[in-house]
Symmetry: C2
Amino acid sequence: MTAATAKDGKRGLRKDGVAAYMQEVGARARQAARRMARASAGEKNAALFALARIIEDESQAIIDANLLDLRAAREAGLEDALLDRLELNRSRVAAMADGVRQVAALADPVGEITELKMRPSGIQVGRMRVPLGVVGIIYESRPNVTADAAVLCLKSGNACILRGGSEALQSNQAIARCIHRALRDAGLPADCVQVVDTTDRAAVGHLLAMPQFVDVVIPRGGKSLVSFVAEHARVPVIKHLDGNCHVYIDGEADAEKAIAVAVNAKTQRYGTCNTMETLLVDAPIAERVLPELGRIYTGHGVELRGCERTRRILPQARPAAAADWDTEYLAPILAIRVVDGLDEAIDHIARHGSQHTDAIVTENYSRARRFLREVDSSSVMVNASTRFADGYEYGLGAEIGISTDKFHARGPVGLEGLTSMKWIVLGDGNVR
Amino acid sequence: MTAATAKDGKRGLRKDGVAAYMQEVGARARQAARRMARASAGEKNAALFALARIIEDESQAIIDANLLDLRAAREAGLEDALLDRLELNRSRVAAMADGVRQVAALADPVGEITELKMRPSGIQVGRMRVPLGVVGIIYESRPNVTADAAVLCLKSGNACILRGGSEALQSNQAIARCIHRALRDAGLPADCVQVVDTTDRAAVGHLLAMPQFVDVVIPRGGKSLVSFVAEHARVPVIKHLDGNCHVYIDGEADAEKAIAVAVNAKTQRYGTCNTMETLLVDAPIAERVLPELGRIYTGHGVELRGCERTRRILPQARPAAAADWDTEYLAPILAIRVVDGLDEAIDHIARHGSQHTDAIVTENYSRARRFLREVDSSSVMVNASTRFADGYEYGLGAEIGISTDKFHARGPVGLEGLTSMKWIVLGDGNVR
């Protein structure tokens, strides 16, 4: 045997090892999901309250495990921003426990029956909300996602398979131990929440390709992770890739509202997906709002990139290149374009937007209605900052992500997005 | 250049030709979808009523085109069953026109706004029902699907790309001409409904792999078509593969209802996906219901295949093999198993069912409730025949298919399944 084939053989074996491990994880999750689906609200809440308590009791153990991850990450030369995301200090662990209690306080979505209508045949037909089954979650450095994601899946009656970043392995395992203790205390199977404990990247590929065991996959992390998952998944994916959000200031906008919304949408936070990246201004109002907006943005240190008409009003703006209209800056940079009316604005958004969140500022009823209907984004707003696109702001109580897909869950995804509606038929011996 | 490379080059060119064609079809559909999304209920209904009239006016032209397909199919030696599916006679064309009018009479699902709730921040948040965008439909010999599918997409504000069987090409094109005339009469773009006019199978592959142009694909046809689509699609799919449906006669069932439901679920039609394929009987009631059921089934010519305990009561039943529990017969054959109580029944369904439709017959309140909650199928019934699992019976007014997936649309899929809910936010200059 040559060295090459020996190596191939070994690699093959290792691959088979991960495949077998993930199949086992999947089969256990599927089995546990059946038990979870029939867990009562009381059982699930008991597990969640137990978990909050255990996280608090074990906060030192969690922080110690996190220190191991942090040390290894520093040695590996991780950037400061990544180290910050990875870190679990006392207040972050406390916030994690609080988050668990908040989810416990939400209404149980499972079992809800709606629209039980009588049909001419005599049957009564309605729908019942039920868990999806097994949810796979693939995430990066933040270890608090382990608790956040697990409790949302638990509350919605799903089993989950969590695959965190390898740099957070110790932290994630420490949190997983808390979750398993809580599940056992509540009499629920520990397999409801499985944290993949191999750092082999092949595990992700397997997780994406087990439709018999996994009902949906949710990637949470950077664009390259999400793209990879979207490209390779053989199961449904709840994802959003870009948040290239727009505010359109219509010619009939209230200038004060327009300025408040446009400033807030850009400057309240720069790094979030619902931050405005391009401002569209209707020509008739441009001279009225742009000078003041320019002053405020410049005061905030926002770099402006404008079309030609914008630069005639705001000479401090750099010329926008074609690529600017398609860029999610996630930074204090703003593209500004003067447009001729609603149609051009809607057209710009259709062409360059990412179907995440777009807002119009206007006092004109018919244009507001048209914008609401015709802009094909997961959130469409009138006279409100795009920064409101958020599960908590929408009253979902929790958020597992924001979906820019149109299928199944759209926009901020809370507990409902982790369920489906099945049909139920109540009869009295009815036949066709 | 060798012959081989020349051939490859030519093949590549041909492939590029189909690819370019499908890209063009996709881009046109995406463009037309934007217009369709804002079409009013009146415009859409005008197109539908015009279509019904044009189908009636052009029925001879449609039948003539169909005769060409039938002749070619006969020459190609197609089976009688397939020829029957392919045939469009006067009454089938009339039924097609009637179907179009029925869809026109349904409420417009697009634009519906629900749950507009005030939030503590002052914004008002709700959801608006909007079209999915572009729907790809891949189907086999029945040319009436061309009209059925097109009108459902049209009514729900979607553009569609239809890819029918090559054996029905002439019929499908004749129907497409009617649709295009109707769209033009109503002032809607003809590209809203495009019928792929190449018989090159590569077109299907391209249709499945254009996420930028196609939002969902619906395969309608045999299992091999559906499997192929599910395997290769890079966009979401609404599909069902198998209908291995169960009726469970509980120990506390009303024997009369049990017999009525079990007979109807099997014998009303044999070839439909919601027909019962396995009957589960609780041991305490087996001796009371099985003898009469056996007589009735035998009277209908249904071949029985039973477990050992069944055969002690029904000696005429052949022994069931392990594979019988997993088989969708679509034929006058029934598998029967005697089980010990609800848990064994639910377990059998979880193991062997296809998550399509399953029913319990019982007078026991708690068992009915457990069955409803714990059986993870798209339709779950109490004291009603599985044959009711149908969009018309459920009051959807129309059905584009039955989904056994849990994601997005589940069970019979009507107009709603071709839409999604986006979030809308109404503010008054609100900022975070």
